[in-house]
Symmetry: C2
Subunit: 813 residues, 2 copies
Amino acid sequence: MGAAEPSVEALERIDAWWRAANYLSVGQIYLLDNPLLREPLTRDHVKPRLLGHWGTTPGLTFLYAHLSRAIKEREQSTVYVTGPGHGGPGLVASAYLEGTYSETYSDITPDAEGMRRLFKQFSFPGGIPSHVAPETPGSIHEGGELGYALSHAYGAVFDNPDLLVAAVVGDGEAETGPLATSWHSNKFVNPAQDGVVLPILHLNGYKIANPTVLARISHDELHDLMVGYGHKPYFFEGGYDDSESDIDCHRRFAKLLDEVLDEIAAIKARAAEGDLTRPMWPMIVFKTPKGWSGPATIDGKKTTGSWRAHQVPLANARDTKEHLAVLESWLRSYRPEELFTEDGSILPDIAALTPTGTLRMSDNPHANGGLLLKDLRLPDFRDYAVDVPVPGGSVSEAPRVLGTYLTDVVRLNPTNFRIFGPDETASNRLQAVYDVTDKQWNAEYHSPEVDEHMARAGRVMEMLSEHQVQGWLEGYLLTGRHGLVTSYEAFIHIVDSMFNQHAKWLKVTNHIPWRRPIASLNYLLSSHVWRQDHNGFSHQDPGFIDHVVNKKAEIVRVYLPPDANTLLSTYDHCLRSRQYVNVVVAGKQPAPNFLTMDEAVAHCTRGLGIWEWAGTEVAGEQPDVVLAAAGDVPTLEVLAAADILRRELPGLKVRVINVVDLMRLQDAKEHPHGLTDKEFDGLFTTDRPIIFAYHGYPWLIHRLTYRRNGHTNLHARGYKEEGTTTTPFDMVMLNDMDRFHLVIDVIDRVPSLGSAQAGLRQKMMDARLEARAYTREHGEDKPEVRDWVWPDAQDRSASEQVAATLGTGGDNE
Amino acid sequence: MGAAEPSVEALERIDAWWRAANYLSVGQIYLLDNPLLREPLTRDHVKPRLLGHWGTTPGLTFLYAHLSRAIKEREQSTVYVTGPGHGGPGLVASAYLEGTYSETYSDITPDAEGMRRLFKQFSFPGGIPSHVAPETPGSIHEGGELGYALSHAYGAVFDNPDLLVAAVVGDGEAETGPLATSWHSNKFVNPAQDGVVLPILHLNGYKIANPTVLARISHDELHDLMVGYGHKPYFFEGGYDDSESDIDCHRRFAKLLDEVLDEIAAIKARAAEGDLTRPMWPMIVFKTPKGWSGPATIDGKKTTGSWRAHQVPLANARDTKEHLAVLESWLRSYRPEELFTEDGSILPDIAALTPTGTLRMSDNPHANGGLLLKDLRLPDFRDYAVDVPVPGGSVSEAPRVLGTYLTDVVRLNPTNFRIFGPDETASNRLQAVYDVTDKQWNAEYHSPEVDEHMARAGRVMEMLSEHQVQGWLEGYLLTGRHGLVTSYEAFIHIVDSMFNQHAKWLKVTNHIPWRRPIASLNYLLSSHVWRQDHNGFSHQDPGFIDHVVNKKAEIVRVYLPPDANTLLSTYDHCLRSRQYVNVVVAGKQPAPNFLTMDEAVAHCTRGLGIWEWAGTEVAGEQPDVVLAAAGDVPTLEVLAAADILRRELPGLKVRVINVVDLMRLQDAKEHPHGLTDKEFDGLFTTDRPIIFAYHGYPWLIHRLTYRRNGHTNLHARGYKEEGTTTTPFDMVMLNDMDRFHLVIDVIDRVPSLGSAQAGLRQKMMDARLEARAYTREHGEDKPEVRDWVWPDAQDRSASEQVAATLGTGGDNE
C-alpha cells in the first residue's frame, strides 16, 4: 500500500470537482433558470419557494470528491451512506457529475438544458424530494429520520468482504440514541468475511438551532469517546484557517484518507492471513464549517460556520436585491465558467476525477440491492411438519419447529441469509439454528462454558438494541440479501419509526423502475402479549400490528399462524416474498397443533377459513353464530368455547373461522389480500352474530371490517390493556377473551338464547370466578383449564402427547 | 468531608443486611411457605410456577446496603433508580427491610406471617409484578423496557439541587440506543441549581443469553468510553476473588463510595461558590458476578457469573430433589437464623443500617412525585388571545401565540416547569420563551453570535434525541413537576414505546391509593404531516394519535385545536390536568384564526360543535349533509368546501362541525370524554351523509365511531400515505382531502345531487387538475388557493391582516 501523494494537478481537479458539486447543489436549492449564470441573475431565475438544506452539503461533496479519487486509484468498490440525508442536493449533484444521473433519468441531460431541469426539479412539485431519497442513485439511506447511518452501513458490509461503506454521521445525528449505540457494531464484524465500514463523523458543529454536543466537548473527550467505541480516530479540521489555501486543505485530507485506507487494507490483509481478532478500526472526525464555502455573513449575522447555515440561508433571495446579490456572488464564487463546457457539461478533465462504471459511488450495484438479489435456496418446509393425528393431537412450541426449518435455510444459504435479534434468538425458540451456526461476535471471549454458540463468524446477530438489529437487517436487505428479525412483541414498538421509514422506502421504490425489488423485511414476534409470564404489564402490547397496517397496503402483510404447521407454511411464503414487510406473530409457549401440513398449506393459501371439525354447522343451513379467531391464544379460547357450546347447547349451529392472514379481512379494494364482500359474506354471514377473538387490540378488527355487511353483528374481543404478572388463563380472563366469556357473548347475542340460557350464563360466570379463585390460591391455572385439549384428541392415540406439557414451559427472558 | 472508614461492625452490618435482602429476594422467587426455613424445605414450600429474575438482584441489594449506610451518615436525600427493573425482588426486599413496605401494605407485616405473604405475592396471581413496578415503594422507574434509567434520573434531579439519584445502569441496558446517548445528559446539568446523578454501570457481564458488549471490551476502552461520555470512572470489582472475605469486599466498596460522594460534595461546594462549569462527574463501574451469592453451578453448568443466572436458575426446584436441595442450601447460605428475630422481623441492629423516615430510599418523597406536586401558577390564557374580528379575519402561527403564553408560565414558575424538545423549540415556534429564559447548556461555549439563548441555567432543554428529552420530562414529572415536550409529529413515533411505558405506569398508579397524581405528560406536535414543506415523505406520519388511543381511555387525551385561541384554551387545560398523556397537534405555519377567545373557550369546553357561521343550515330542519373537520388543515379545507357549496348550491343545507377533542367521538361508555349516542346523533344526524376531513389516517375516525347510528353514512378523508416534497395544497390533493374533492364527495353522497350536479362535479375535477398543473409549473400553489380566506373576512376591516402572509412562512427544520 502507501499511495503516492496526489499531484497539484490532482488536487486542483479535486477542488474543481468539489466546486462543481457545490455549484450544482446551490443551483438546485435556488435556481429555476439561468443555470450556468451566463446572464446576470434576476429574481425570476430564483424559485418562488426555497426549500432544502445547505449546511451539511459542502462537507458531503468534499468527501465525495476525495473518496472518488481514492476509489479510482484503488478500484475499491464503495457505497456512500450519508447520515445527514438533508444533504440531498449534494448527492444528486455528485451523481449528475458522474453521469449516473443522466443515465438513470434521461431528461436530465449533461448539458445546460439538463442542468436547468436538474435545478428546477429539486424540492419542486412533480420533481424530486429534498433529501437523499430512493430516487437518488447510489443511496440506500434516506437520512430524513436521523440515527441509522451506521447500522445501515454495517448491514451492507456483512458478507460483502470486498465492500467499503463510507458512512457519514452528522454530529446532530450522533446525539440520537440509535446512532450512539451503533458505533459498537464494530464488535460484530468479521474482518475477513465482512466488508469495512469507515465512519466519518461530520463535525460541522451545529444542528437546526443549537451547537452539537460532540462539537462542544474537549478534543480529548471526543478522542476518548471514539477509542471507547473501539475506533482509532483520525482528526481532520479544514475550512477554519483562512491562511490555508483550498489546495493545501485538499492535500492534507487526501493524505489522511490515504493513510486511513492503507490502514484498512493492512487490517484486511492480516485478516486474510487468519487474524480475525477485532482491530481498532479507523474512523475520521471531519471537522469543517457548517455551510462551508457559503456566505460568511447574511444580514450582518454569522452564517457559514453556524446553525444559520442549516437550511436555506438566503430566505429572501427572490424578494430583496441584497439577498439576490449575495446569492449571485455566492454562485459565481465557484467559477462555473471554469467548470463547465460551452454546452454545459462538466469539463472532461474534471470529470476524470471519479471512477467509471460501477465503481462510481452513485452506480454501485450494492446500493440497488435488487440487482444482486438471489433467491434463497429453501428446503421443503413440509419436511419439518409436526405430526397432527387429530386436531389438538400434538403439542409444539411453534417457533422451535420453525427453528428446525431455519437450520436448513441457514445451511443452504451460507452467505446471504442472517437472523437478527436483541439477545432473544434462543428465548424466541429458534435455538435449533445453533446446530449449524453461531452468533457472530468479535468482542472478547472468556471461557467456552459461558460463551456458547459464539464465533467470529456466524449467521445469528444479537445485540441488545432493537434499533441496531433492525438497522443491520435493513442494510443487509437493501444490499440484496435476506433475513429476519425476532423480537418481543411489546418492544418491537421501539422501532416503530424505523419501520415507517423502511416501509416508505419500499413504497417509493415500488414506483421507481430502476430500483429492483429487494427481499421482504420479516418479523417474528413469538414472545407476545398473552404469555409474558415472567414480566407482566410492561411487556404487554400487541399494537405493532396496528402501527403496521397504517402503511400502504401494497407493502404490509400480517400473519397470525395458530400452530406449528401454519407457521412453517407462513414463513416459507415470507422468505420467498419481495418488497413487503411481513409481520408474523406466533407464540413460543407449548400449544396444541390443529392442522396437518396439508391442511395448514390449504389454510394458509386461503388465509382464513372455516374449521368444520370444530363447529356444529348443518350442511346447507346458516349457522346461528360465528366464532372467529386470529392468533394462537384466541384460537385456543375459541375452540374451548366451541367445545362448551356443543356440549351445553347441542342444537346450536356454530361456525368456527380461523384467520391466519389478517389483511384478508379488509376489502379487496383496500388491500390486495382482501376478501370481496361476497367472499366475506359467505364466511361470516350478513346477519348472524360474529364473536371474534383477536390477538391484539380488538378495535383493529372493527377498523378492518367496518364496511362489511355483517359488521354491525361483529363483536370483537382482544387485549384491552389489562394485565400484570399472572397466569396465562388469568390474562385472557382479565381481558374478557376467555372461553367462558366467549360463551357468554354467544348467549347475549344469539336472539334465541338470551334469557332462555340464564342458567348457562350463570354457570359461565361461576366458572370464571372459580378459575380466578383457584389461580389466586394456587398460583397456577386450574388443571382442567390449563390442560384442556380439543376433546377429539383425547380419543386418539396421540392424546398422551398433549399431556402435562401444556402450560408449563420454562421461559427465558 | 472525608467520612471515616466504616468499622468492622459497620461492615458486618452491611453484610448482614445484604444477606437479608438476598434471602428475602430468593424467598420471593421460590417460596410459598416456610419463610424462615424453620423446617426442612419440601416441594410444597416451593411455588408451582417460578417466575422472576435473580441475576441482577444481588448487585442491586449490595448497592442498596452501601448507599443506605452513606445516606444515613450524610443525611443525603437519595432516590434509587434501577435500570435493571428485573431486579424487582431486591427492591421489594429492601423496602421491606426498611419498614416502608409494611407501612405501605399493612398485610405484609414485619414478621413470619408477613414474610410468608411477601414471598407468596411476588409474581403470583393477585400479587405483585415481577419487576420494579409502580407498586414498589421508592421507584419511579419500571425498567421492564430497558434504556431510560439515566434519562429518568436526570429528569428527577433537574431543579432538585439537594437530591442525589443513584442510577444503576445494567450492562445489557447499556447496549440500547437511548441509554447509549443518555450519558451525555451531564452536559445539560447545572451543578448548583440541579441535583446530582451518580451513574453506576452494573457490569455483571451477561444478558439473557449472551455476554454484554461493555463487559467484553478492554478495561482501557471502557475507561475511555466513560471519559468520552464526560465522566470520571471509578472501577470496582468484587465477588470474583474467593480469597477476599465479604467484609474486605464491603470495606473496599464503602471506601470507594465515600470517595465518590466526597468528590460530588466537593463539586457541589464549588458550584455553590459560583463555579458552574461542567465538572467530570464521577461514575462507578460496578463489576460483580451475575447472580452473585447464588449457586456456583447447577446441573454441572456454571451459573453464578454467567447468563444462566439471569432468570430463575433452579427451574425444577419443585420437581427434582437435586434442585430442591440446591435451593435449600442456597437459602441457608444467607444464615437467616442470624438475621431475623424469633418472630421473623429483621434484627434491630441490622435494621439500623438504613436511615429513617424519608431518608429511606424506599420512602423518598421525590419517588412519589404527586406528594410534592404544586399547581402551576398560570396566567389567564385569555390575555394572550389573538384578535379575530370575524372568522378567518386574522392570521397566526398558533404555536407562536402559545409561546407568548408559555413565556409567562415560565416566568411564574421558575423552578418547576420546563420545556423539552429535540432541537426544535424555535422551529416549533415557541421562541417567545427566549425572552425570559434560555436553553440550559453546560457543554462548551463559543461566541455569543452563534450561542444564542444558551445559558448554564434555563427552562428549555434541547438535545437531538426524542428519547432523551422524553425521558427527562418523564423523570421531571414523576418527581412532581410540570412540563411539555415538542416534536415533529412524524418522529414522535421514535418514543412510541416510551409513551407505552409511561401510559402503563399512569394506568397502574391510578389504582394505587398511596401513589399521588402527577402532572400530565403534554405533547405539542406543531410540525405536522401536512406541512413538511422542506422535508417530504420521510417526515409525514400522523399515526402517533392512533398509537396513543390504544392505551386506556382513562389516560389519553387527543386535541386538534384549529387555530390560535383554541390552542391557548386547550393548553391551559392540559397544564392543569393530572395523570394524563395529552397529545396536542397544532400546525406552526401561518393560518387563519376562526374563533374569538370567548368562542374558543366555549368550543373547547364542548370539545366539538357546529360552526353555524360556516354552514347553510335552516333552523329547525335537518341538514342535507354534514361536513366535519378535526385538525387545522382539514378545517381550512372543509371551510373552503363549504364556501364553494354555498356559492354553487345555495339551496343545499350544509352543517359544519369542528372537532377539537378527538375522544368526544368515542362512545361515552368507552371514553370519559365520549359523547352519548343522543348527543352524537344530534350533531351528526343518523341518516345524512357525513364527510369527515381528519388530520391523520382516516380509518381512525371509523374506529372511533363504528358503533354510532350515523356511521354507515360517514366518509372520512385524511392522510393516506401519499406525499413528497411539494406544496401545501398539492399535499391535500395527493390525499384527496382538498376542498374540491370534498365537494365531489358531497355530490356523490347527497342523493338529491349526484348526476344532477355532474357539471359541478366536472368543475371540481377541473379545478384539481388546474391547481396541480399550476403548482407543477410555478412551484407554488395557485394564489386563489394559497390565499383563500373565509369570504366574510374579506368584507371587514381585518381583511388586510390576512394578506399574503398566508402560505408563505419560512420554515426552520
